[in-house]
Symmetry: C3
Subunit: 273 residues, 3 copies
């Protein structure tokens, strides 16, 4: 099923509207192109409604939010909701400042959010107001391990039930849940945390996957998470001794460029809870 | 003649002022350095006139325009015009929103634009108000093919006559025209469309070529287009099986770094119409 | 001693708040991760005080300053000063516009700046108001050579005495001075000037080094400069004939990722004046 999700992206080539941070925006554009989707970035309040209307979905990322772009996110999100476009929220750094926490919550409450993707601290902050966000990284106390997996899956399902959104919590182990089921995904490599923006990139790609698979958005989100993890593994295997985190960054996107549905299906490691 | 155009850039090392989008800005800076020009990015209204005054030319790119940067573009453009500096306009996404279409037209009408570079949909939108822009990519109905080449060249010449600017329409086949002649350039590789910002990069590089060759700006613009295409070909030839779109992105800029005037002259494929 | 400075960064993994330009911001984030620090970028006035409070230090870079981010720099800087966090100022392009010169001076005067890193023209502008800044590059007349080294070191020491900040002037030869001593560092490679943002990257990394070594900030700043230079040398040695400035950019950060304290100590070339 992950195979079909990936193949639909390649077939439909969805155009994704991104209002995202200026740190990792280039990587987000290139990973969308790598999976055969198309990116457009636009954040002026005068145009965001029009831009989002010509797209298939909207990726909202608060990584370097400001008063101007928060307004743009709200306007674009309202329009995308009216048009029935999927909207993904990446609450970067929720918990690190009141502005981030409040903005992430307002976007989640006021818009028809289809999916939320964040690390465990960000998602806990959104759900409970108590994540221990360390800047834009998850605090170690929030991390999901084999031992806490069942509890984390139940938490994600409950948060999905409450919000109506697919909840993707990514880290060493990833959880993608709707109210009935949770994919626990074991792909990926620890070195992915040494690159800025793998989370942002995944959010952009996940938006494309959901756009192309409107009738199975949980599976599509899980497929995107597995695809990122598989590409992280394959890219790691391709590193030479001199390669460091920037080579790794490029290699991951390059693996996304080449990844086939068949390989994704074969290498994806997950269980349902 | 393309050879001389390239060599003048290496000799004069023009300083180019860029007011451009935050998606591809790093690549624009690096490609300017690769061709031995120097970049400066500055977009605050309080400083853009001063900054543009110490530069040789101005590259205006509306890829992530906003109210603040539109003002900066107008101020910088007015100053650059007074000083006789070449100004290039890259109307990214013209046709995708009213703001983009209107801004691109205002810049073209109000400033002394030396060159416009865009895809076929963007240029059609500017000239006729009727391009079928799909986000920031050209719509397939607008694409230039061997069959539509003569018509497209005539259109570009007419638009150049009307505006006084060199018109560069880039795609599978590129056209660079002034009112009397059109270079039809056949270099490049389809994979270039799988990278974000090859167009933006070309606009930055074209500005440098025009700065360094003030007495033959059409030839200089054509030389920049051919250089980008040749580097796209050479970079493609250098790819390994694992390389994808991000490796390709870096390889193209690296080829620009090494490209000699002699090799450009030898590999450029074009005809005049 | 450089060895210990590097190792402290790897051990303490300082979280660095960056208010920096949108041209090189991704490279700044990745080089911080490469040296095992963590980056956070945040520039909205409503959150910068809170964000800086959870960090260990603050990196202020005026590369694409605007009215909004200048305010954010001032607020964040005031808060960081109250908390005793080190603040680094990178006065990109000081001398190229009145706004840059004035802003850099105001930040230096109003905040408790721990270190300033710039090229010779930028630092001269800050100290004397007379640098010959060519855009964001040092003017050749300002460059430090073997002949002018003693004079430059004395100038840096005097400026450090006046400001209380460590003064880092980087170029072909680098000087890192406090009021009593100046490290003159001879590492690096000329090709580093063909990449955008090696200076910005160094400023980000230097902030992390100072955060992790609060009791020897001059040595820490010098260690960061030497580390960047050594990585520039090692990356150059690793280049293939097809590699250009973008490959070189990635290779330098990858070398930072792998650099050990032992190797830094062994390869660092400097003398004290």
């Amino acid at each position: 099923m992950f195979q079909e999700c990936l193949e639909e992206v390649r077939k439909k080539k969805p155009l994704v509207h991104n209002i995202t941070n200026y740190v990792t925006v280039n990587d987000c554009a290139n990973i969308l192109l790598a999976c055969k989707a198309s990116p457009i970035m636009a954040d002026d309040v005068e145009e965001v409604e029009e831009i989002t209307a010509i797209c298939s979905g909207l990726n909202l990322n608060i990584g370097t939010l400001n008063q101007r772009t928060i307004q743009a996110m709200k306007l674009a999100g309202k329009k995308a909701g009216q048009l029935g476009h999927p909207i993904l929220l990446d609450p970067v750094g929720a918990g690190a400042s009141a502005l981030r926490t409040r903005t992430a919550r307002e976007l989640l409450e006021d818009l028809k959010i289809s999916a939320v993707r964040g690390n465990s601290s960000e998602i806990k902050t959104l759900a409970l107001g108590t994540g221990a966000t360390r800047g834009v990284d998850a605090d170690i106390s929030d991390r999901i391990t084999e031992d806490s997996l069942e509890k984390a899956a139940a938490f994600a399902k409950a948060f999905s039930k409450k919000t109506g959104a697919v909840i993707a919590i990514t880290g060493a182990i990833d959880i993608v849940a709707d109210e009935e089921k949770a994919f626990c995904i074991f792909n990926g490599h620890p070195m992915m945390s040494s690159i800025t923006g793998t989370g942002c990139q995944l959010s952009a790609m996940m938006t494309a996957y959901i756009c192309a698979n409107p009738d199975r958005r949980t599976e599509a989100a899980a497929a995107a998470v597995a695809a990122m993890g598989v590409c992280g593994e394959k890219a790691y295997e391709s590193l030479t001794v001199q390669d460091g985190n920037t080579a790794y960054r490029s290699r991951i996107i390059d693996q996304v460029f080449h990844l086939t549905g068949e390989e994704l299906e074969k290498r994806a490691k997950y269980k349902l809870l």
